[in-house]
Amino acid sequence: MSCSVLDEQQFRQGCQLLLQRSDQLGDGWSWEAVQGSEEGYLRKTARRSVPSDWGPLHDQEGFSFHPQTLCDSTGHEKEEQDPAASTGSDFLSAEEQDDGSYTVTDSSSRVVQYEYHILFSCSYGAPVLYFRAFTLEGKSLALEEMWSTIHPNYRLRLQNCPLSAISQQEHPLLGQPFFFLHPCRTEEFMGLVLQAVQDQGRPVNYVLSWLSVVGPVVGLDVPLQYCTPLHSAVSLNSTKPD
């Protein structure tokens, strides 16, 4: 039996561990149960500021700008910038220079509200990431707009591997359109991750490891604090070192 395939119970255990850590760190994950059963999924919302001029798929020359990840909707310790400022004049964006490099300047950019769900696929024995995004006015982002919020470096990688590409899919529990990352390659890359970790004899949370690989592609950061030992739990936004 391949160790890189998960069963539903292991998935739930991984989620619970992730949830405990998230609670300590104030990272905003919650468990949504399906009525009257043990089945459910992890859910999180977050806001990101995305440069308005990251542009369409083919503009990719020497990028150095990284999006600001603001704190989530649970209201924990907000960062200096107020996420509600939708006009975006407080946010930074990138402008292309003549030599193809980018400089960061003050100009408007978009604030996008993301919703992330982690479900279990029994067909593939793996977690699957479903997500959708809205403008602050509540208008949902279409596929092309979603692509334009993804860092150009990740776009190249996704383009080269169509099976990992982002596509629209019906949420298996809610029935609404979401975007998702296809899980058919998960066993492949998780096999490599698990092998490396198990060679070192360390315990591993499959769900957390998986999330740290796929999350950043769609703007979902998984802070390193998730991996620090439990007794030294530090809030994500605290300035005190561990």
Binding site: V34, C122, S123, Y124, S140, A142, L143, S167, Q168, Q169, E170, H171, P172, L173, L174, G175, Q176, P177, H182, C184
Partner: protein, 275 residues
């Protein structure tokens, strides 16, 4: 007894007489006539409605035309479900033809996936086939196929070519004799009155003591309410391709013969009509 192969043909060539009417709120230059079509149960709406689109575009100005979508009695129809499933789920006990309303504006993007081209339908179809094979064969058969073989499955469906499709699909229906069946059965159970779009879980075709699981066994495990207990009145119909198979039918046989081209058994549980 009918040959099992005949069942495959009957399934493939199932049709639903449908009447397409333009949504009265669409802006038209003159009145639009209804359009009649026999829809293949096993195909998908975007693949077989080019003529419907052309017909209605004749009475509309280009600037009033956005993404086409379909609705039945107020319910947007999910194009990524096989046509037969949509009919069985929403209109199985109504008088034919099936009356579908055509829309060209106000696309309900909270309910429906976008479908800008047939390549999106192809991607969904192939994704289902791969998922089904992951359940049946740990993806070994589908991964051993070449890209042109995958293409043959899609083209067979798109062009309504039974022989072309099954020349390739038969490989996905094989299994080691000693196993007695697939690893798990790809199925989805649809209910009418649930938030949850469908039930899909792991289920083996053969029990640990080597007995063949039946349709009844599947329902007992996944959706016991669908079954009628002794002395009770029947509340639900369990439909596959518009018929009610006997609950004693072996699940492995159903999977091999009554699956859709996407290799899934799509099972609709609908309330018994009360008239």
């Amino acid at each position: 007894m009918a040959d099992d192969k005949d069942v495959l043909r009957d399934v493939w060539f199932g049709r639903i007489p449908t009447c397409f009417t333009l949504n009265p709120d669409e802006v038209t230059e003159r009145e639009a006539e209804a359009y009649y079509l026999l829809l293949p149960r096993v195909s998908y709406l975007p693949v077989v409605t080019d003529k419907v689109k052309k017909h209605f575009l004749k009475v509309m100005r280009p600037e009033d035309v956005e993404e086409m979508w379909f609705e039945y009695e107020g319910t947007p129809l999910k194009w990524h479900y096989p046509i037969g499933v949509l009919f069985d789920l929403h209109a199985s006990n109504t008088v034919l033809p099936w009356n579908i309303t055509v829309h060209f504006k106000n696309f309900p993007d909270q309910d429906l996936l976008h479908c800008p081209s047939n390549s999106i339908v192809e991607a969904h179809f192939m994704s289902s086939i791969k998922e089904a094979d992951s359940l049946k064969h740990k993806s070994q058969v589908v991964n051993d196929m070449q890209k042109k073989d995958h293409k043959q499955l899609w083209m067979g469906l798109q062009n309504d070519k039974f022989d072309q499709f099954w020349a390739m699909n038969r490989k996905l229906m094989e299994y080691p004799t000693e196993d007695g069946g697939f690893r798990y059965i790809p199925f989805r159970i649809y209910q009418t009155l649930s938030d949850r779009p469908f039930i899909q879980k792991l289920f083996r075709p053969v029990s640990p003591d080597c007995n063949a699981h039946t349709l009844g066994d599947l329902l007992k495990e996944m959706y016991p309410d669908a079954l009628t207990n002794d002395g009770e009145q029947k509340r639900y119909q369990v439909l596959i391709h518009g018929i009610e198979p006997l609950l004693e039918t072996p699940l492995q046989w159903l999977s091999e013969h009554l699956s859709h081209p996407d290799n899934f058994l799509h099972i609709c549980v609908v309330p018994v009509p009360t008239d």
